[in-house]
Symmetry: C2
Subunit: 64 residues, 2 copies
DNA sequence: ACACAATGCAAATTATATATTGCATTCGTT
DNA sequence: AACGAATGCAATATATAATTTGCATTGTGT
């Protein structure tokens, strides 16, 4: 259940977890837990992450 | 902030809020609040709703 | 080897999504 | 008008997302 697409998009943007977290208004831990698949984030947060990474919901959070 | 796309997709599938709620494993109120835009649902729930309505995240929850 | 940046991990707390119950309102049908 | 089905709305309770803090681990560069 790891979200490898989100991590890849973040790295590709040259952001570490701390920078992405602050762009998005959450803590580093929240980003880490989402990437490691142990969290079930909020829609608002997903959208904020997508916009910070120039991706869409389907790009980062949709399977199949 | 009303989610008219979700409501339209539900109606088009011939489902009322109660039926969608039970397909998805939540209560009627939760569905109603999401459609009326007063809720910030969980990613898992968004995905369950999408699958129940044969739509994707971008179809129902992505703007612009 | 050392230092430092980035990430992982874990416990306790806070904020908020969802459940539950009940009643009001709207809308279609007869 | 009256009935029932579908939806709206509101208060309280519960589950869980997210915070906070701190320390451990991993990786990269010198």
């Amino acid at each position: 259940m790891k979200n490898t697409k989100m991590k890849a998009a973040r790295v590709q943007k040259g952001l570490n977890q701390i920078k992405l977290a602050s762009k998005v208004g959450v803590t580093r831990q929240t980003i880490g837990l989402i990437e490691s698949g142990e969290y079930n984030p909020t829609l608002k947060l997903c959208i904020a992450i997508c916009k910070a990474l120039d991706k869409t919901l389907n790009d980062l959070f949709w399977e199949d």
